[in-house]
Every structure is written in structure tokens, then in C-alpha cells.
Amino acid sequence: MRIRTTGVVAAFAMALALAGCGTSDEPAETSTDAAGGKLVIWADDKRTEALKPFAEKFGAENGVTVEVQAVSKDLQTNFVTASQQGAGPDVVVGAHDWIGNMVQNGAIDPVQLTAEQKAGFNETAIAATSYNGQLYGVPYAMENLALIRNTELAPEAPKTIEDLVATGKKLKADGKVSEILCLQVGDKGDAYHIYPFYTSGGGYLFGTGADGGYDPSDLGVGKPESVEAFSKIAKLGEKGEGALKRSISDTNSISTFAGGKCAFLISGPWATADAKKAEISYDISNIPGFADGEAARPFIGAQAFYVASKGANKALAQEFVTNYTTSTEVAVALYNAEARPPALTAALDQVKGADPDLAKFQAAGAEGDPLPAIPEMAAIWDPFGKAEAAIVGGADVKGAVDAAAKTIADQIK
């Protein structure tokens, strides 16, 4: 009996093991069959939906399988880690400021566009996706901040920050709004949103190198110009005009504007959906600068397609990225999924008739700076934002800027 039970158990166990064998074999076989023509694309949730029809079309036209997989969180980190382990996709879709980090990890390859193809794109978008003199991605959309104003409360676009503050203060005194300006700061600051004011005050982050890209050895934070710029920002802060406040943060700036509680909002194309939903009549104009300062330059961000270095099907990925995603159709479809200005000029021309906001956002970004894609930019965000928050809260300007500069310099080495 004892032996028999043992035997029965062992036999069943073997059978189950074989079943495990069988199930794990099947996908392995199919994947070797399809490996010839399988392209895997990683994108975030929203873009996955927009890309699917085109990916399927590309697959059907060329007899290959294209799979678009949604990675909803930490796409860049997941991509770099998976790539390293050889489990990554062939193509990844993401923001252009990832390039520096992806290149230093050997995760993406340069792409070669013809001069003709390049000419079809917005110049800033091409500049943004270039790094160390090489083009690393095919941009499809751009985004930048602009001044969005409630036209019922403020019919005229302010020409300077001083104008804006004066109008805002008057509205606040009249009890029509509760805030002068909705520009998100938060308790740890927001370098991206304060950058236009910082540049208008004369500050810069990195100097320009020989190849036209950013030069990490020339750090602008801590220079006299940056202290000057932050002094001007301090005057708008909690101890000054009260236009900038730490209580206005990423969670409430857009909703406060949409609720009609402030007449001016500095935000990007993603904010207009809320304003439309709240039926606010709004207009978009350039971000004003200080009266005695330079023009305010927002960051220009680009979204792009990248070819993974360690993808299983690089040749097909190159084909897809360089010759297929450069088409107007794809750009328009991605615009329909999320309303950001297409980087392809022809696509922008096609959609801007139906959406007047696009041209205005693009005009607001005409003088903008590409968001630095160099890995050193990672060292800026946190200390720069905190210096901003401290200064807006009324701290000593020089001390805060110097502390940020020291922290950044320590990190960059």
C-alpha cells in the first residue's frame, strides 16, 4: 500500500509536471515562429490606444505582427531595466528629455532621417531630440507652457508680468477672484513652471556648447544672473505681491482656474480640456516677461519614437520609426488621442484649422528653449524647485540660490 500511494503520487506529479512542460513549450514555439516579423512597441496608456490601429496597419501591409503594449507607470525606468535584461521592446514612445539617460545606458540607437524628412519637422523638435550631434528619436508632438487667461475677467492679454499682477490684484480687490495668478509652486517648488519667469529675469540653466547642445560644465544656477532673476521672482512671492504662493500646487492650479477663482493660468495644452469642460471662455497668449527683463522663454518638450538598442527586431524597428512614424497620418491620429501640437509641420497645418489653440500654443513656444535632455538635468529639478519654493516663501534669495547651486554642482561633479 505504501509503495502504491507513493507511486500514484509520483505519477500524478509527473503528469502535472508534463502539463507544465507543455504549456511552457507552446508560447516558446509560437514566438520563434513569429520572431521573424514581430515588433513590440511600449507606450503609455493614452498613446497605446492611438497607436494600435496604425501598428496593425503597418503589420498587415508588411506581413509582420506588431504588438503595442501599454506601460502605465515609470515607462522610462521600466524600459531601461527591461532593455538591460534583454526583455525590452523594439520601439519605445516617450518624452525627449529621457534621451540623455537612455543613451548613457546604451538603451537606444540613433535614427537616420533624410534631409527631406528632417525639413518636414519643426526645427525645435529636431533640436530637442538631438543629443551629442545625433538624432535619437522621431518627434511627433511638442508641448510648452503658455498663459491661459479667462477672457471674461481679463479681456486683454497682459504685456508684462507687472501688467498681469496689476490686473490680477484689481480683480482680487474687487472680489472677482481669490488668486492673482495660478502658477503651480507647491512646497517643493516646480522648476518646469517657473522657468519662463526665471529666463525673463535673465537666468539660465546650462550654457550652450560647441555643438549647439547644452554644456553641463557651464552651470547658470548660482551665477549673479540667477540671483537677479530669483530676486524678481521673490518680489512676486508671499512676502511681496502675493502672486506666487506655495499653496498653489500641481493638484489645484488648473482646477482653481477652471473654477473661475483666478484669471490667469500658466500651463500647457493639457489644461485646456478642464477649462473647456468648465465652460470658461479663455484665450491663450505668450507668457509675459518682466517689464525691464528679457522675453519669457518656456521649456519646449517633445514626444518621440525611439529605437531600442537591444530590441530583438532592430531592423524592423528602424523601418517603423524612420519611415512610418514620420507620416502625417500617424501624427494626426496621435493628436486626436491627446491634443498636443504635432511636431510634423504638415500635420500641424492639417489640424490647426479645427483647433485654434494649437497655433497659439506654438506661438507661445516659438522662442522657447528645448528642455535639456542631458543626464545632468536630473540634478537640477529638485534643488532648483526647492530654492524656488523657499524664495517664494520669503527666504533670503542669495542663500537659497547658492545652496541649490552647491547641491547641483556636487551632483554633476
Binding site: K38, G63, N105, S247, A315, E319, P375, A395
Partner: protein
Amino acid sequence: MNAPLTGPGSAPQTPGRGPEGPQPTSRAARSDAPVTVTGLVVKVVLLGLAAAIAVWGAFPLIEAEAWGGLALLVATTAGLGYLYLTRRHIPMKYLVPGTLFLIAFQVLPVLITAATAFTNFSDGHRGTKDEAITAIQTASVVRVADSADYTLSVATKGDPGSDPLVFLITDPTTGTAYAGDSDGLSPLDPADVTVATGGKITAADGYTILNFGQAGARSQEVTDFVVPTEAGAIRAAGLTRAYEGRAVRAYDQACDCVRDAETGKVWTADEASGSFVADDGETLAQGWKVGVGLANFTRVLSDPNVSGPFLSTLIWNFAFAIGSTGGTFLLGMFCALALHHPRMRGTNLYRILLILPYAMPSFAMLLIWRDMFNTDFGLINNLFGLDVNWLGEPWSARLAVIMIQLWLGYPYMFLVATGALQSIPKELGEASAVDGANPWQRFRKITLPLLLISLSPLLISSFAFNFNNFNAIWLTTEGAPFPADNPTAGATDLLITYTYRLAFGGQGAQFGYAAAISIFIFALVATISAISFRRTRAQEEVWS
């Protein structure tokens, strides 16, 4: 069907009459214990699952040629099979699953973390040296200044799957067709080729043109394939276009360095730092992973960014952990005592209401609490008509995060305290009341000590958890407010959030450094816990 199976060798036993029958010795009882169908099925399924998982795990190991790992897998599976198919080694049968899970989910990650702490594993130093060299060379391929944009068809001279690749290209300006292989370009006779509009060669005598699927199957070959030319080489840009490009940087085995053909600059491999360094100190972005010995540990100890604010952060860290644990315990215990009172009515309703915060996802609640503490828009200031910048001032921010923890944590303490109270015999309280003890004395001398015996381990683990409660800080204040002159250490920063910022904030992810820091924190928490447990045991002896 749960009837005991009887075999020819075992004596029939009547259930329920055990005590009256002759008692076999314990050893014989074990080997003769009835084999139930349920037991058998459970055994078969579990062992089968284990075997299936082993087989499933074996394939990747074979593929990666990890023979050591495979041997371990086979030995473990065989050991499991032997253990559960014999009737001996009863204690082992109970110990092995727990031990296996302990090794897989506790010991292994700790060992991996410890091993990582001795490397420079970080962004820019993730892979091997070969991978870094490949990345450097690929990234340096530039288009030759006057390169034409060739149209490309990938072809072979015979079988599309195995014969050597040939690039069939046409020059867009002249319309000439060429065949390119590793020997260079050779013009094709226009009579032999069919060229579609746009210049793509769709057929050529003596060549088989590969479709995307076939070419994709040889993707790596297509990418690596170069047709040498005078100025560089023809390379594929996708599967339909080609360009003339040149790798500007190349690795030279002889000097173990990377040389730039245009500027002549040389970056020599530095095995100590895992990167290519030029004489002027410039490093190439693409590095590789190397062992760095104790460098990460000495960095933790010598970095002024760590040592400077370390003490103040540590003190606040203790205050936060003690405040969170103690506060939730007191409040939870108070609620439990109140509801435990025999004259209390509607206790079930109260209990349900008290459990609610515990049932909500803390992730979302932390974010909501953060917004409730907002100066101008937050519920708390609006409700009480205050104008306190809660998260903007050091002491109010500290108070706020502890209050949030209190709200999130007291239902748990309430639950465990309720359970512990119910296990304390009523007679003890009644007896002391007869002896003339007042309620406070009864609580202080009887209930509390008995409660603490069962709750001490929970309090210690709650302390250890709160000591490293990353989410509680990161989702509410992210360590803010920060002093204006130091953006690295904030007033509410715990050691874990503060070091997270050091390791992952500035220069991308620095896994090696982060691992070294976590070993330090681990040592700290382990010491505190060990001391606390020893003290608890001493207390138990006093009270019991």
C-alpha cells in the same frame, strides 16, 4: 468523499472509538495513519505544481546556460519529491516550505542587496564592458556629409533564411542599381532588375528579395551588415532605405581605449570606475558595472551631505516612529477599552466605523490628507477658519504627518487591542475590585501589563515599520519644508526618504549607493528591534 482508505496491511479502525482500542506506539501510528483521499489529492496537486514550476523555471536556466542554478533547481525539486513521498522526516515536512519561502523571499533579496552595495551599479553603469563599447560605437555612426539616400532591398543569392545577405540599392540621383556585400558595391545590369517607382528594386536576376518578415527574422544581421565604401560604409536605415555612414569612434583592443577618428581624442578604459576616461578627465557617458569594494560604504560615512544632517534626521526619525506607534497605540487602546466596557451599547456599529480608515487604501488617503492640509484650499484651514501653513513650517509639518499616521494607524491598534482585551480573564478585574482597587489601579496594574505582553511584539514591528515608512512622508510632504540654505534635508525627512533622494534624485538611479545606505539602515533597525525584544522578554518574566 472523506472516508479513510484501508489497505490489506492495515487493521480496520472504527472512527470515534480510538481511546478504547489498543494504543499503538507513536511511531507506528505515524506510518500507519490512514491515507485520506483529500490528503492524497492535496499532496499530488502541490507536488505536481512544484514539479511544474521547476520545469517552467528550467527552460530559461538552460537557455542562459546557468548550470549551477539548474543543478540547484533539480536538487531542490528532487529533495522536495523525496521528502513528501516518504513517510519519514515528519518535522522536516513542516519546516521545509517555510524555509524555502524564507530563502527565496527574504534571504536572497538581502544577499542581492548586499552584493549590489559593493558595485557601482547605477545609470550609465548597468551592463558589461562589451555592451558599453557596442553602445559607444553605434552612437558614433554619423552620416557621411554628402551621402545619398539610397533605396534598399534586402536580398540573398539563394535561400532567404540562411544564405549571406546582399543589399540591393539604387542611387536616387542617377538611378543606378547596385548589389552590395561585404566586398563592396558592384553595379547591376539594368536589364536584370525590376525597379518600382520610387527606386525600390522589386526583383533582380540571381537574387531572392526578402520580405519584411524574412528580413526581420535576420534583424541583427541586417543591422550589423555594412557594405564598405571609400568614405565609410553603406548601412541600413530600416529595411527600405540605406545611407552612407561612418563610425567615428572605435574601440582599440591594443590600448584598451576608444579613439575618435575625427578629433584623435582617446578615452582609456578605467576598470576601477567602469568608464572610459580621457586625459583631460572627460568620461564617456556609457560605462559598465564593476566591483568597487567598500567605496559606497566609505561614501556614506564621508559624504558631508549624509553626515551633516544625519543626527537631526535620525532624531526626528525616532520621534516620528515613536510618535506614530505610541499615538496610534494609545488612541486604539482607548477606543478598545471604551468599547470593551460591559455597559457599552451598539459596539458593533462603533467597531465598523472605527475600522473604516483601516479599510481605505492608505496610498490614496495620504494624498487626500496632503491636500486637506493646504494653506489656502485645504479643508482643515477652511473648516476651522485658520491660516496655518501646515506643510510649510517645520513643526506644523511634523505635527501634520504624525496626525495623518495617527488617523491611518489607530484602527489597527484598536483591532489588536480589542482581541487582547477579550483574552484577559474578567475574574482578575473582579477580584481586584473586591480587594478595593479603583478602576485606574485595575487598568494600570492588571489590564495594561497583560495587554502589553501580547501587544509588545506588534508594537516593536509597528515601530520598525514606521521607522522606514517611506510612503507616509513621500506622498505627503516629500520631506518638505526644506531650510532655504539646504535643499537636501527637509524637516520631515526620514532617513529612508532622505537617502532615497540622495541615491535616486540627482544623478539618476544609483543602485549600488542605495544598497549601501539600506544596509546601514537595516543594521540600525535590526539593533533597535533586537534590544526591544530582549527587554520585552525580561518584562514578561517579571509579570508572569
